[in-house]
């Protein structure tokens, strides 16, 4: 990641954490005051939320300052150009697609639409397909590998550890 991208991430993360800190601070305000001890349940969350928000503010200000600085590419190339440096390209969309597939896999089981075995085989085969450049010819291999892995883990968890899977 370039310095500008990192700065943008810092601003985003700082903002999100300030929101989180604010939520904690206000929720802690609803807690009853201490009866038997000096500190009480609300004090530490509030102190931590304030410290974290203050530190996040500093980080965001630093991020804004570095975004305002002019970009000076080294040797005429952007610092993060992986292709120019001979590295394979990064694939953030692939990562996002695998994450969404995982969310769907968990949701399908949580909503009791499918049990672990069929959902697991479908999920594993799909993410293997995604991660192997959507190679259609290799789908049988993906399905076979997924079936072996999912069914063997199902057997281990239910028969060996005696845990019910969904």
């Amino acid at each position: 990641m370039s310095a500008r991208q990192t700065a943008k991430m810092e601003i985003f993360v700082g903002g999100a954490l300030i929101l989180f800190g604010t939520a904690i601070f206000s929720a802690a305000g609803n807690l009853p005051p201490p009866n038997f001890e000096p500190l009480g349940s609300a004090a530490l969350p509030r102190i931590l939320a304030v410290i974290m928000a203050a530190l996040c503010l500093i980080m965001m200000l630093r991020g804004v300052r570095s975004l305002r600085e002019p970009v000076t590419p080294i040797g005429g190339l952007p610092a993060n150009d992986t292709e120019e440096r001979g590295l394979p390209p990064q694939r953030p969309y692939l990562s996002a697609a695998v994450f969404l597939s995982t969310v769907c896999f968990v949701a399908v089981m949580d909503l009791k639409l499918l049990s672990f075995a069929p959902a697991g085989v479908a999920y594993m085969s799909f993410i293997l397909f995604l991660m192997n450049d959507m190679n259609v010819k290799r789908i049988p291999v993906f399905v076979a590998f997924s079936a072996v892995l999912v069914l063997s883990s199902y057997w281990v968890f239910t028969r060996f550890f005696f845990i019910d899977l969904p």
Partner: protein, 496 residues
């Protein structure tokens, strides 16, 4: 001595020995594969240890810890891709040796150095841990609170360079632990109406989400990166008598540096190897050769990073204070097995405390044997297709977390923390302080509140009790150190 021998006798029985062996072997393989980390392996193994006896669970995890630190040198030496950050310094001289066609020699030096570092730090662990725990029994809540504070501040300032981001991560980790029942007052807090939050966030979903899931998504982004092939035989891996005498001062110095750095909370194996490497270069008559495939460079880096593990286990079993992220996870493992990490561990559960010490010794012996005899085959694991590996790990994350409490809530928390961990890493925010904040938050809060109760709200003991005042002073110094450093630098520039 007797508890130590009892523990050693237990460990040479078939099942415990097999568990240490399995742990070391898995640790080596996972440590060797770039992108997979020892932290990931240990967090993913935690759910399975629920079904095991506490001693067996801990010795398995210690085996993984030893194996992981040692295994990372394989990819560092053969591919210039350190399996874990602790082997970054090994790449400087290990990889040039590989390019010169001396990969076996580089690995032989690294394996022997890891073994020596492990054994020397074991001696310190075995000798120092019992008296340390006796001293720690005298500590009260103020000492504990300031010690936790010191660990958090030192880890934040030293883990990845940015004190500001480290502190934010530590505060965030501590806040994440706050929802649920407040143990001191017995009331629920910060649940935002979610019933599932009443018991708080469990350790495992947070750990697996932050370390394993986020790492998998990071690895998928770089899935097209293929490691280059390296040829490897088995000639010349054992060190000669001449080598031993030539490298003896380096072995000793690096072991001492590694052990000492390991004892300090939060610094970790990567800093240990950097410090040891720079000391070896300063002490050398040929400092210009470092970084070009110079054998003492490999020895300094690998001896220190393994020695730091033994050093870090000293505060872990005597005080319950983690020296690194893996140590924080080991503390989590102790808590999950209803054990109380800290000075009482030696009194209430000596089999665990001595189990850690002896497993560390046996783990190092097994590591040496496995690495010497099987490194050629382990090196082939570097080329396992990443897509199959990552997909399988992701599936195990989901079922492993579900299996612990039969709860989808935990699985959702794991996925959410996976996103949090991923975003934090993109913002270059260290995950170490986050997870250590999460693990230490309840200890810090409990000790602070009981300390305040005992003094009627006064914080005077922070300054009047010697150990508490010392820990507090170190914390303040760690916080101010970057400012002092910047001031000194400005003064130096101004005077020049």
């Amino acid at each position: 001595m007797q508890p130590f021998l009892d523990s050693l006798l237990y460990l040479v029985q078939p099942l415990p020995f097999a568990l240490v062996f399995l742990g070391v072997a898995l640790g080596i393989v996972v440590g060797a594969i770039p992108g997979l980390t020892t932290t990931m392996l240990i967090t993913l193994t935690l759910p399975l240890t629920f079904f095991m006896d506490s001693v067996n669970a801990i010795i398995l995890l210690i085996g993984m810890y030893v194996g992981g630190i040692s295994g990372s040198q394989i990819s560092a030496t053969l591919l210039r891709m350190p399996g874990t950050p602790s082997s970054i310094m090994t790449t400087f001289d290990g990889y040039p040796l590989t390019l010169k066609g001396r990969a076996e020699r580089a690995l032989g030096l690294g394996i022997t150095a890891s073994f020596v570092g492990g054994i020397v730090s074991f001696l310190f662990l075995a000798v120092l841990a019992p008296p340390f725990s006796r001293l720690a029994v005298t500590f009260g809540p103020w000492e504990y609170f300031t010690m936790v504070l010191m660990a958090l501040v030192m880890l934040s300032s030293l883990s990845q360079g940015s004190l500001l981001k480290g502190l934010i991560a530590a505060c965030f980790g501590m806040l994440i632990h706050m929802p649920g029942i407040d143990p001191s007052a017995g009331i629920t807090r910060l649940t935002f109406g979610f019933e599932s939050l009443e018991s708080g966030l469990s350790l495992l979903p947070v750990l697996i989400g932050a370390f394993a899931v986020s790492q998998i998504f990071k690895d998928i982004i770089n899935i097209d990166m293929r490691p280059p092939r390296a040829k490897l035989g088995r000639q010349g891996m054992l060190l000669s008598f001449g080598d031993w005498t030539r490298f003896a001062p380096n072995f000793l110095r690096s072991s001492l540096v590694g052990t000492w750095v390991g004892i300090l909370p939060g610094i970790g194996a990567n800093i240990a190897s950097m410090l040891s490497y720079s000391m070896a270069r300063s002490a050398s008559k040929e400092p210009e050769k470092f970084g070009t495939g110079h054998e003492p460079g490999v020895i300094a880096a690998e001896t220190a990073n393994n020695a730091s593990v033994g050093g870090a286990l000293i505060p872990l079993i005597t005080l319950g204070i983690p020296g690194s992220v893996v140590d924080a996870i080991l503390i989590g493992a102790l808590i999950m097995h209803n054990l109380e990490p800290g000075p009482l561990l030696f009194i209430s559960n000596p089999e665990i405390a001595y189990g850690v010490i002896t497993a560390y010794l046996v783990g190092n012996l097994i590591m040496f044997a496995i690495m010497m005899f099987a490194v050629v085959h382990i090196a082939k694991m570097l080329y396992v297709p990443r897509s199959y590996l990552l997909a399988s790990i992701l599936l195990f994350c989901v079922i492993g977390i579900f299996a612990v409490a039969n709860s989808f809530f935990d699985v959702w928390i794991m996925l959410a923390l996976g996103v949090v961990g991923f975003v934090m890493e993109r913002a270059k925010m260290p995950l170490g302080p986050f997870v250590i904040g999460f693990v230490l938050a309840p200890i810090a809060e409990e000790q602070l509140r009981s300390g305040l109760m005992s003094t009627g709200g006064s914080i005077e003991p922070l300054f009047t009790r010697p150990f508490a005042a010392a820990f507090l002073a170190i914390s303040v110094l760690s916080l101010c150190w970057p400012l002092i450093q910047a001031w000194l630098k400005r003064r130096k520039v101004a005077s020049a």
